[in-house]
C-alpha cells in the first residue's frame, strides 16, 4: 500500500483564552489515503472545523498546535516554517471555507479573484490566467462568460461552484472543504457532490469533507472519521460505519436521521443532552453523559482510539459488545426521552 497523503497523529489544538485553555482538538489521529474522499463528521463545537483549518494553519491567533504531527507528503504541517506553509497553500492544499458562498469578495469581479490566485500564487501570466480561469469554470459547470460577473450575480449553488473552482486553480493534491453543501437545497447539494466526486476521480486528488450531515458522508465519502468533543471516536470505511458502527455516538447519529428509503417514518430519536464544555472536559469518556450504555468505568477512564477489526478504529470501552449494543441502539426507548 502506498503511504497516505496526509497522516494526522496525536494532534492537539488549544484555544488560549485568558485564564482558560479550551482544548478544541485532543490527540486526534487519522489518515487520508491518496485519491480518496474522507469525511470529518460531528456536531457543532466538536473541533472538526478547527482541525480542518489546521491543515493549512489558518487557525486563529490564540489557537496553538500543542502536540502531534500532520504528515503531508513527507512534510510535517505542524512543524514547517510559515514560509514553507505558504508555499503549500493553494498549490498543494486548498481550503474551501464554510459558507464559501459568502467568502467571495462582493466588490470584485469573480475573474479578478481567480486571477489573484492564478497570477499571485501560481505565477501565471495574464493570458495564462485567463485561459486557466475559463477552463476551471468549465470544470465546475459554469459558462466561462460568467467570469466577468460579480458574486451577487450568481446563485448560492453557483457561488459554491466558484469556490470549488478557486480551490482547484493550482492543481492541489488535497482539498479541504468545510461544510461545502450546508445551506444548499437538496437538488443543488446533490449536483455539487456529484461534481466533487467526478473531479476527485478525474484529477486523482484527495478531499476532506467537513460536515455535520451523515447523509453527505454516506453519499460521497470513502472513509469517515467521527469526532466528538474534540476527539476522534471512530474511523473506518463509510460503508462499514453505516452498517456496523462500533461507537454508540455513531449509532445514535443514524437514529436521528430521517431515511426516505425506509418503509415508514418510524420515530426519530435524538441524542439528548449536549456535548461537554471543552474548557472543563469530564473525566473518562466524553460521551458518557449522553451514552445509554455508559458504565461506571466509562465515567472515570478515558477510552483510547484502538484498532478493532479490519481497518476500523474506535474509542469505546464496550466496542467488543458492539453487535448487542447496535440492536439496543435501534430501539427508541434506549435513548430515553425523545422530546
Amino acid at each position: 500500500m502506498s503511504q497516505p497523503l496526509l497522516s494526522v497523529k496525536n494532534l492537539s489544538i488549544v484555544y488560549e483564552v485568558p485564564n482558560l485553555d479550551v482544548v478544541a482538538v485532543s490527540r486526534a489521529s487519522f489518515d487520508v489515503p491518496r485519491g480518496s474522499i474522507v469525511g470529518l463528521v460531528g456536531e457543532s463545537g466538536c473541533g472538526k472545523t478547527t482541525m480542518a483549518r489546521a491543515f493549512t494553519r489558518i487557525i486563529s491567533d490564540n489557537a496553538k498546535i500543542t502536540e502531534g504531527s500532520m504528515d503531508f507528503d513527507g512534510k510535517d504541517l505542524a512543524k514547517i516554517s510559515e514560509r514553507e506553509m505558504n508555499d503549500l497553500r493553494w498549490r498543494d492544499i486548498a481550503f474551501v471555507p464554510q459558507s464559501a458562498m459568502n467568502s467571495l469578495d462582493p466588490v470584485y469581479r469573480v475573474e479578478y479573484q481567480m486571477h489573484e490566485v492564478l497570477r499571485g500564487r501560481g505565477g501565471m501570466s495574464r493570458s495564462q490566467a485567463k485561459a486557466r480561469a475559463a477552463e476551471l469554470f468549465e470544470m465546475v459547470g459554469i459558462e466561462a462568460n460568467r467570469l466577468r460577473d460579480f458574486p451577487h450575480q450568481f446563485s448560492g449553488g453557483m457561488r459554491q461552484r466558484v469556490a470549488i473552482a478557486l480551490a482547484l486553480a493550482l492543481n492541489p493534491k488535497l482539498i479541504v472543504a468545510d461544510e461545502p453543501v450546508t445551506a444548499l437545497d437538496v437538488i443543488v447539494q446533490r449536483q455539487i457532490l456529484d461534481q466533487m466526486r467526478a473531479l476527485q476521480r478525474d484529477l486523482g486528488i484527495s478531499i476532506i469533507m467537513v460536515t455535520h450531515d451523515i447523509s453527505v458522508v454516506a453519499y460521497i465519502c470513502d472513509r469517515t472519521v467521527v469526532m466528538y468533543a474534540g476527539e476522534v471516536v471512530e474511523d473506518c470505511e463509510t460503508a462499514t460505519l453505516l452498517s456496523k458502527p462500533l461507537h454508540p455516538y455513531t449509532m445514535g447519529l443514524k437514529n436521528a436521521f430521517p431515511d426516505i428509503a425506509s418503509a415508514g417514518t418510524g420515530i426519530l430519536t435524538p441524542i439528548s443532552g449536549a456535548p461537554p464544555d471543552l474548557a472543563r472536559p469530564p473525566a473518562g469518556c466524553r460521551f458518557a453523559a449522553r451514552c445509554p450504555f455508559a458504565l461506571d468505568h466509562c465515567r472515570s477512564v478515558s477510552p483510547t482510539l484502538m484498532s478493532f477489526g479490519d481497518d476500523h478504529s474506535v474509542a469505546c470501552h464496550r466496542a467488543h459488545e458492539a453487535e448487542a449494543l447496535r440492536a439496543q441502539a435501534a430501539l427508541p426507548e434506549t435513548w430515553g426521552e425523545i422530546l
Binding site: E43, S44, G141, S155, G156, G157, M158, A183, L184, D185, V186, I187, V188, Q189, R190, Q191, D194, R197, H212, D213, I214, S215, V216, A218, Y219, T238, A239, L242, S243, G252, L253, K254, N255, A256, F257, P258, D259, I260, A261, T265, I267, L268, T269, P270, I271, S272, A274, E337, I338, L339
Partner: protein, 327 residues
C-alpha cells in the same frame, strides 16, 4: 362538512424588482414569487410546502400569516380575506396565526432576555401583566424545556441552537394559535438535536390540534411531519397529494427529481445523475407554458405552448401535460 380554515384561490404575490432604467431597457421587472396558487387546509391538517430555494414556498407561507399581502387572487383565513383584515379582526388574526422562523438566532432580539422575548406577543395581545409569567412558563413547558424558570433571565447567546428553536416555538405558541407556519425550523440545527425539535413539533401540534404548514426542501423531513405535501416550482404548484404516495411514486417529473435528491444515511444509494437540468431559470423571465419545461427531461411541444392545468390523478393533483389524457 366543516369549512376549511385556510383557503387559497389563485393567489398571486408579485414583487416589483429592478430600477426605472432596467424597465426602460425593456427588462422584465416583476418576480412572480407566487403565481396562481390554490389549495385549502382543513382544521387540524398539516401540509408540507416542498421545493427548491426560490420556488416561492416561503413567500406563500408569509402571505398566510400576513407578512405579505396578495397582489392578486385570494387567501382567506376562517372565511375572511387575510389582506383585508383591520382593527380588532386583525389583532385576533395575529394571535391566531403564527410563524416559526428558520434561524432561531435571527428570530429573537439578542439584547432581550428570553422572558422579554416571550412577553412581547402577550403585551401585543393585551394580556394582563399578572398572567405573563405563568403563561411563559407554561409555553416553555409545552416545548419540553426542562426546568423552564432557569431560562427566563438568560440571553439568546447562552442557549444552544436546539434550545433556542424551542423558545422560538414556545413564543409562537404562547397565544394559543390555531394555525402555524414553520419555515425550515430545523435546517440550522445539528442532526442530533433535530429529531427532538421535530418530535416536539409533532406533539404540540397534536395536543393543540394545530393546523400547520411545514416549509422545507427536504422531503424526508416533510414526510416526518405532514401527511400531505404540496410541491412548488417557480411560484406554482406542480403536485399536491398524500406524502406517502408522493414519496413512493412521485408523478410530476419535478417531484421525481426532488425525491431522487433526498439524501439518505445509507451506503447503498443511487448515484445516478438527477433527472433534472441544472440551474433554475431567472425568475423574472420564466419559460412560457410549463415553468419547469427547460429542466424537464420529458418536455415535449405542448409544454412550451400551454400552461398545464392541475388535473386529478388518483388521490393527487398534478400540473403536467404528461397526465392530460389520464383524466
Amino acid at each position: 362538512m366543516t369549512t376549511p380554515l385556510v383557503e387559497v384561490e389563485n393567489a398571486q404575490l408579485h414583487y416589483r424588482v429592478g430600477s426605472a432604467v432596467s424597465a426602460m431597457m425593456g427588462l422584465p421587472s416583476v418576480v412572480k414569487a407566487v403565481d396562481g396558487i390554490s389549495f385549502s387546509l382543513n382544521k387540524g391538517e398539516s401540509v408540507g410546502l416542498l421545493g427548491e430555494s426560490g420556488c416561492g414556498k416561503t413567500s406563500m407561507g408569509r402571505l398566510l400569516v400576513r407578512l405579505e399581502n396578495v397582489t392578486g387572487g385570494s387567501a382567506r383565513f376562517d372565511g375572511a380575506e387575510i389582506s383585508q383584515l383591520k382593527g380588532r379582526a386583525l389583532r385576533t388574526f395575529r394571535s391566531r396565526s403564527q410563524m416559526i422562523f428558520q434561524n432561531p438566532f435571527d428570530a429573537v432580539n439578542p439584547r432581550y432576555t428570553l422572558a422579554k422575548t416571550m412577553a412581547e406577543p402577550l403585551a401585543n395581545a393585551g394580556i394582563p401583566k399578572s398572567e405573563w409569567r405563568d403563561r411563559i412558563i407554561k409555553a416553555l413547558e409545552l416545548v419540553r424545556l426542562a426546568d423552564p424558570e432557569q431560562y427566563l433571565d438568560r440571553f439568546p447567546h447562552q442557549l444552544s441552537g436546539g434550545q433556542l428553536q424551542r423558545v422560538v416555538m414556545a413564543r409562537a405558541l404562547i397565544l394559543e394559535p390555531d394555525f402555524v407556519v414553520a419555515d425550515e425550523p430545523v435546517s440550522m440545527l445539528d442532526v442530533s438535536v433535530r429529531a427532538g425539535v421535530l418530535n416536539v413539533f409533532r406533539e404540540v401540534r397534536d395536543k393543540l390540534g394545530l393546523t400547520a404548514i411545514y416549509i422545507s426542501h427536504d422531503l424526508a423531513l416533510v414526510r416526518y411531519v405532514c401527511e400531505r405535501t404540496i410541491v412548488m416550482y417557480l411560484g406554482r404548484i406542480m403536485e399536491d397529494g398524500p406524502t406517502e404516495a408522493i414519496v413512493r411514486e412521485p408523478l410530476h417529473p419535478y417531484t421525481q427529481a426532488l425525491v431522487a435528491a433526498v439524501p439518505t444515511p445509507n451506503a447503498d444509494q443511487s448515484h445516478e445523475p438527477l433527472p433534472i437540468g441544472r440551474g433554475a431559470p431567472d425568475p423574472r423571465n420564466p419559460p412560457s407554458g410549463c415553468v419547469f419545461r427547460d429542466r424537464c427531461p420529458k418536455a415535449f411541444d405542448r409544454c412550451a405552448a400551454e400552461v398545464p392545468a392541475s388535473k386529478k390523478v388518483g388521490t393527487r393533483h398534478v400540473a403536467c401535460h404528461l397526465f392530460d389524457e389520464a383524466g
